[in-house]
Symmetry: C2
Subunit: 351 residues, 2 copies
DNA sequence: CTGAAAGCGCTAACAA
DNA sequence: TTGTTAGCGCTTTCAG
């Protein structure tokens, strides 16, 4: 391995000088600089990250934990992936600008057992701060991490003790889409495909549903079922709905996310039902494929990239200044397409 | 920051002993061990990764470079994401078993300019080995990295000088799907939506197309256009096709990947054409949503997770033993659904 | 403008 | 079984 020392010897200077030219900060005589640079080039020298981190007391690496709910590892459906993709993009964009690197790890939501635990600890020793990709990691867990490095939870429940939280305004979004169904389409009989009970996002969305229904006594929730945010679980929800309410179908199925909406639509169409003709369906998130579905999915756009970017900003500010904003909420947007019963997508769609 | 030394002092032992109990390898008297563990617990000690790496001369981190082609940063369509998701899963599964961590970075394919270059260098100083997520990074680039750590290229062109290459059998897959179109559906007039010119995958797939056509003189390629593997570029390809061949449509559109097939189908359907009624369409990759499209997409399944897993295995073997397999090719599978004109999906579909 | 030298926190001989 | 100690490669005062 080529070290600073090797370069220094070849260039006939001290390691301090080499370090200076590598970082371009301090003033070094032009002649010396070029000589050193030649040596660096010739040797193909690249500084050792571990040594730098140790010496600088700073890793220049941010950790991101992506929590997965998947139970059946063989299931082809990708659960939270589309979600993380987008969040990740937002984070990455920022990371790049700050010349940091991203250390990433996936974790099972359940089985918060020893192995995953140890992985997180190990991560916490290699990064300057940690982003938790979804807010349903146990608080004591978070506290343990936060004892070592700053932690920001994305899509978590505001009020986390040891960490900052950045989330989208799920409540308003959910209320908006349900109100659209009721007020603009006159839907009365609703069916709800809920998300996992421990998901802060799902909780807010459900609360909004209940809130809106309370304001519209003429409407009723004819049934509901719980999924795990995956396409497959949406399909199952659709089948269950069919089995239970074949005789008197709901007028609209409100899904807690797009993936499940995809599954529900598939199940409905499989059974020969038309969407939105026979039953309207709505999602939440506006994943990239939502607009390409048949019919295009009416949903709520979460600013997922912004979520990632904002989470990073908060984390970075904690890291560098020690200060941050403990609870940030980002606005969402109703995206009207056709699965709700609207006939053509208004300009809101964005393109 | 809590250090080994702090723990040692609190427990009344030397740092070496603490190190021993942290790693559980060496023999330590039971009483001492518990005393040390209590101290660790009390202080919330977690070893510093940088110091460990420096001392052990090993980072326990694998780097992964995801190359993106995206030109317009504002474009909502996610280009290679679905692809990387799957590959990443394969890699992650292995990483996890080996108790390593994953350092990940995204890079623009174009603009192989200074900024990205520096990011890669910086990564190479923080990892034990690097996985390049797609094979169209310039060779001299790869060589530079490979001078420091082992490098494995996923979906690259076999024969890379400085690195090992792991790829799917694109040629056979492409040949199989086109042959299906010609032999089983009697398609004669084909249109090709090609991938980026510098993509090894796209090159193999195109070569297979030419190869098959050569064997079927009665068939003709009525036109072709080049996309960048994104949904948007597929849409544009579809529009272009429509503009150029409205009068005499092709019988089938062969797309170099699923994303573009999605775009093509959207454009065709937008124009009132039926798929596969008026025009058959095929993809390549079998991304998770392929089966949920309308019609379900006939495509080639690349074993993407296996690609990632295999790439990791090769890399790991290079890292630990210095030996590896320089060119590995994984088999692919024809997935017949409905977009090719078949009426129902045979059992091949997998579920 | 450049060099010498003291660590950063941990590991791993080697001694005891 | 436990302690001592010499680094790992780099940054950063502090002198010169």
């Amino acid at each position: 391995m080529v070290t600073l020392f090797d370069v220094a010897r070849l260039a006939g200077v001290s390691t301090a000088t080499v370090s200076r030219v590598v970082h371009g900060q301090d003033r070094v005589r032009e002649a010396t600089r070029t000589r050193v640079q030649q040596a660096i080039e010739e040797l193909g020298y690249v500084p050792d990250g571990a040594a730098q981190s140790l010496s600088r007391r700073r890793k220049d690496v941010i950790g991101m934990v992506c929590v997965e709910r998947e139970v059946e590892p063989q299931d082809i459906e990708n659960v939270g992936l589309l979600y993380y993709d987008e969040v990740l993009r937002g984070v990455e964009a920022r990371i790049r600008n700050h010349n940091l690197l991203l250390l990433i790890t996936f974790m099972q939501a359940e089985g918060v057992g020893t192995p995953d635990f140890r992985r997180l600890d190990s991560m916490s020793g290699k990064v300057d701060g940690i982003l938790i990709g979804e807010g349903f990691v146990a608080s004591h867990y978070i506290e343990r991490l936060a004892a070592r490095v700053p932690v920001v939870v994305i899509a978590g429940t505001p009020g986390e003790r040891a960490a900052d939280v950045v989330a989208a305004d799920n409540f308003s979004g959910s209320a908006a889409i349900i109100t659209h169904l009721i007020a603009d389409h006159g839907k009365r009989r609703l069916f709800h495909v809920d998300g996992p009970p421990d998901s802060p996002d799902a909780i807010q969305r459900r609360l909004a549903l209940e809130h809106v229904l309370r304001g519209h006594p003429q409407c009723q929730l004819i049934g509901s079922t719980q999924g795990i945010f995956s396409v497959r679980s949406g399909e199952q929800a659709g089948e269950e709905l069919l089995a239970r309410h074949r005789g008197a179908l709901p007028e609209a199925v409100v899904c807690a996310n797009d993936q499940m909406a995809i599954g529900v639509m598939a199940a409905l169409q499989q059974a020969g039902l038309g969407v939105p003709g026979d039953v309207a369906v709505t999602g939440f998130d506006d994943v990239p494929v939502a607009r390409h579905l048949h019919p295009p999915l009416t949903t709520i756009r979460q600013p997922m990239q912004e979520l990632g970017a904002m989470a990073f900003d908060v984390l970075y500010s904690r890291i560098s200044t020690g200060k941050g904003e403990s609870d940030v909420m980002l606005p969402v947007q109703l995206i009207i397409r056709e699965s709700c019963g609207c006939t053509s997508a208004p300009a809101q769609d964005g393109k």
